[in-house]
Structure formats: C-alpha cells, structure tokens
C-alpha cells in the first residue's frame, strides 16, 4: 500500500527529475529564491519602505543601495523585496482559485446529467469571451483597487480556460472502463471524479496552473498600472513598474529592475509547469514507474 514514505519517495523522485533538466533547474532555483526572499522580507529589508531621502533620488546601484533609489529616494531593492511577497500571494491565491473553479466546471462538464454537462459547456464558451481586464474593471467598481480584484478576475478567467482545456482529457477518463469499474464497486459520482478523474487529468491541470501563475504576475503589473490592482502604498512589482514607468526618460533603470523580475518569474513559472509535467508522467519518467 502507498504510505507516507512511498509518497515522500515519489516527491523526491519528481524533484530530482526536474533538477536534471536545465529548465527544471532554472525554474526551481528562481522560484526557490522568490519564496526565500518573500519570507525574509517579512522580517527584514535593507531599508524601511517608508524611508525616503530627497537628497538621493534616482541614485545608480551602489554598495548602500544595491539597485539604486527611485524618484522619492526610497531604496528600490527593499521595495522589490517587499513586492515579491505580494506577487507570491497573488500567484498562489489565483492558482488555487482558478484550479478549484476549473475542476468544479470540469466536474459539471463530464457529469452524467446531460443537461448539466451541455449547459456548462455553453456557459463556459460564453463566459470565456469576457476579457479578464473587463472583469477586473467591473469588480473594481464596488471593491476598489485591491489584491482581491486581481485574484478574482484572473482566477475566474483562468479557471474557465482550465476547464475548457482539461475537458477532453476529463471526458476520456470519465468514460473509461476504470471509472466504470469504480462505479461498479460502489463509488459515488463525487468520489469517482476526485479519485479517478482528477488524478488522470493532473498533467493538463499542472501545465494550465503554471501558465495561469505566469499570467497572474503579468496581470498584476497590468491591472496595477491601470489603477485597479494592488492599491497605492502596498509594495508589488506591478506597483514599482507603474510608479517608475512615468520617469523612464529620466532614469530607465528603475523600470528595468521590476521589469526584469517580472520576466524572469514568468519564464520560471512557465518552465516549472513543463518540467513538472514531464517529471510527473510515469511514461516519461522510468524512476517514477518503478517507485
């Protein structure tokens, strides 16, 4: 029987398989650093975020300010450090919300009730045509600029997308003989879905979640720039971009750092999904087959 030790062994095999691939190595390193920096920023940043110095604005990188200062003289590195945790929270919440919504919709689409299955397909096709930005703008009317607007808008859009992409694989699993066999053993519809359908569509879900995570980082920057994302005063990479982009002609490097970070993270998240999918596939990973 698979016990905790076996599960841990399988996790170790997946991680070591990812580490053997260049893409996996890059993504694990970058994402590991991101999480570490976010945690450190909870108790330490080189400078207080509210600390400004009018005599040292637009400073170039130096020993005292590793990434220079912005137009108020605040330390750019400290703001990016603190911003990393906001972006991390947004990514985690968006992925969780989109995965939960997406799987709920997949369950409806593969249900044995014809009306529910057909109705949910039509509803998803209609709702998916609404742009995420429009949803965010509509949510911002009652909620104002907030992290919740980004999470709800992105999670909703990405959840619909996940459901549509995962549907063919889920239908294959739902109509398979092993699901029939599980039903013959007395498994209820929710149990069949959670125990037999979901694990068999995980490769698709993992890739979609990693794409959603990468897009959530981009969306945070875009929505914050539009004024409906992270509220003013809360550090985030999007906030750093939005405040510095106006001064790109005066000091381009303050745009460079948050822009570079966003790019590195989006690439890392996308590669993470691909590497994780390959490492989790028992057909592609012989070590996992034997575990």
């Amino acid at each position: 029987m698979t016990d905790t030790a076996t599960r841990m062994r399988r996790i170790r095999i997946v991680l070591s398989s990812m580490w053997r691939q260049p893409a996996g190595k890059y993504s694990l390193t970058v994402l590991g650093l991101w999480i570490a920096v976010s945690l450190v920023s909870l108790c330490w940043t080189p400078y207080d975020l509210m600390e400004t110095d009018g005599y040292h604005v637009w400073q170039a990188p130096s020993a005292s300010h590793w990434l220079g200062t912005d137009g108020t003289g605040a330390d750019v590195f400290s703001w990016l450090m603190a911003g990393s945790r906001t972006d991390l929270v947004i990514v985690v919440l968006t992925v969780l919300f989109s995965a939960a919504l997406g799987l709920l919709l997949v369950a409806a689409m593969v249900s044995r009730s014809g009306a529910l299955a057909h109705g949910s397909v039509v509803a998803i096709d209609a709702l998916i045509s609404i742009p995420t930005v429009l949803i965010a703008l509509m949510l911002a009317v009652p909620m104002g600029a907030s992290v919740a607007v980004i999470v709800l808008a992105c999670g909703f859009g990405y959840g619909l997308n996940l459901a549509r992409v995962a549907r063919p694989q889920a239908l294959l699993a739902a109509n398979s003989m092993y699901v029939e066999s599980a039903r013959a053993n007395g498994a209820s519809a929710p149990r069949v879905f959670l125990t037999h359908v979901v694990p068999n569509i995980m490769p698709v879900v993992v890739v979609q979640c990693s794409l959603s995570a990468g897009t959530a980082v981009l969306a945070e920057s875009g929505l914050t720039y539009l004024g409906v994302g992270v509220p003013s005063g809360v550090p985030s990479w999007g906030h750093s971009l939005a405040t510095s982009v106006k001064f790109i002609n005066i000091n381009p490097q303050t745009v460079l750092w948050p822009g570079l970070l966003v790019t590195l993270m989006v690439v890392a998240l996308n590669l993470f999904g691909d590497a994780l999918r390959d490492a989790m596939d028992p057909l592609a990973n012989p070590q996992l087959r034997r575990a």
Binding site: M1, G114, E180, S181, N185, S188, P199, N200, P282
Partner: protein
C-alpha cells in the same frame, strides 16, 4: 443471492437492445449467459448493476433478493454495488486505474463500504491477494507492471474483496490466452463457491461456459432463445443460435486441447 429478471427490456435511443428477458439465478448457483457479440449480454449485466449509460430506457423488473433495481436511486445503487454485487470486467488492462497500485485498487470496495482501520484494511487486502493467487510483493505495483492474467486476478480480487453475494463476470477471459483463461475460470469458480455466492457468467464461448456454470441461458438479438443445464445444452442445443455457438466451440481446437479433462468442449 437470488436474482430474477422479468420481462426485462432495454432500449437505447429508441432502439430495443434487450427484449422480454426472463432470467433466474438461485442462491449459490453459477449461471451462464451466452450469445454472439451484440446480442445484449453486457447490457443485461449492466442493468443488474444499474450501470446503463444515461438515456437508456429500462422496462420490466430486476429483483435482487427482494430489492428492485430498476428505478432505484443512485445512492441506493452505490450501496448495493461492490458490497452486494461485484463485477469482473472483460479487459483487465483498461478496467484498472493506471495510477493506483494493486493494493489501492483492491482496497477501494472496502474503503467504500466498511469503516476499517488501516491495519485491518491491509490485512483484508493481503488475504484477498493470497486467495486470488497474487504474490504479496505485487501490492505496490501498478497495472502496467502486471501480466494480463495478473491484471485479471486483481480484477477478481476487487470484485470479491467486499464479500458480495452475487458476482457478475462480463466476459472475464476474452482478453486472455487460452491457458490463462482456464486458470482464471478455475480461480473465479473456486472463489465464488468458497464464498457461497451466486454468479452470472457472460461469454460468447461455450467451451469457457462449460467449466464455469451449471445452468445457462442463450441470448440471440436481445431475446432468450433457450435455457437449461449447461452440460445438457452443450450435448443437444435446441435453438439454432445454441447449435451455432456449440459448433463454433467444438471447431475451435484452441480451447479443446487434451487438458480439457471433461471432454465436453
């Protein structure tokens, strides 16, 4: 478990697949249902389990020990499946979840119907594996790491682990070689008899049926055309379909080797 189907009819999208079927299985009896491909055998089996595809019209009655299956609620059917009625499927390679280990597959009916501790669950699974002729070291293997015969043994173990009173074996040997077919039939018969359960054995092969059942029904185009003791029916089939099936079994030397000690096939 005693089973009686009366005037059973099954229609899919307006097309009548099974018509007016009356079938009886007495407590502890092994009954065969034979017919050519597409005659509606599997549909009758699925109707007994309440596993027909959505949109199927079922008429008549299916009585399982006094409980009426036709029109039964999903929750009641789920309680019946696995615990009271077990099913062995045709192709073990695709009827086992590729991601679950042998132990997890066999434990599934127990988890669904009984509140057992982890230790009890492990003991019951290991005991069932032994009875099904599966070495204990296979417990953490996945289906693709097993041979066809081993996969079917796992399927049989899954069907029998929760001690159901009726086993429905839907062509359990079709996907196997002739030697493994014999082993699987022998195993199934011995386990069913040992448990004192009833069995409905579905096949299109009389030579397999001869070993597995005491009584059998011949199905043709959705209707029962003949029924009687299996040995008598093999000797002198009364219907044209029965005669064709018996002749086919006799001509197929594949199943008729010297190993068939009773010489009926």
């Amino acid at each position: 478990m005693a089973v009686v189907t009366d005037r059973l009819g099954i229609a899919i999208a307006g097309r009548q697949i099974v018509k007016d079927v009356h079938l009886e299985i007495h407590d502890g009896q092994r009954v065969g249902l034979i017919g050519s491909s597409g005659s509606g055998k599997s549909m009758i089996a699925r109707a007994m389990m309440g596993l027909l595809p959505p949109g199927t019209d079922v008429s008549g009655t299916i009585d399982l020990n006094g409980e009426q299956v036709v029109g039964m609620r999903d929750a009641d059917l789920a309680a019946l499946r696995g615990a009271a009625v077990g099913m062995v499927f045709q192709n073990p390679g695709i009827s086992l979840n590729p991601l679950l280990t042998v132990g997890q597959q066999i434990a599934l009916p127990l988890r669904l119907h009984y509140a057992l501790s982890r230790e009890e669950l492990g003991q019951r699974v290991r005991a069932m594996m032994t009875r099904a002729g599966l070495p204990e070291e296979l417990i953490d293997r996945r289906p693709h790491q097993l041979s066809g015969g081993q996969q079917q043994r796992v399927g049989i173990a899954c069907a029998l682990v929760a001690s159901p009173r009726l086993i429905i074996a839907d062509e359990p040997t079709t996907a196997l070689d002739s030697l493994t077919q014999r082993q699987i039939v022998d195993l199934l018969v011995s386990l069913v008899d040992e448990a004192g359960a009833s069995m409905l054995f579905i096949t299109h092969d009389f030579s397999v049926l001869a070993h597995a059942t005491q009584y059998c029904y011949v199905l043709d185009a959705g209707r029962i055309v003949e029924h009687g003791a299996t040995a008598a029916l093999l000797e002198s089939p009364a219907s044209e379909t029965g005669e064709r099936l018996v002749m086919a079994a006799q001509q197929l030397t594949l199943h008729r080797g010297k190993g068939d000690d009773d010489g009926r096939a």
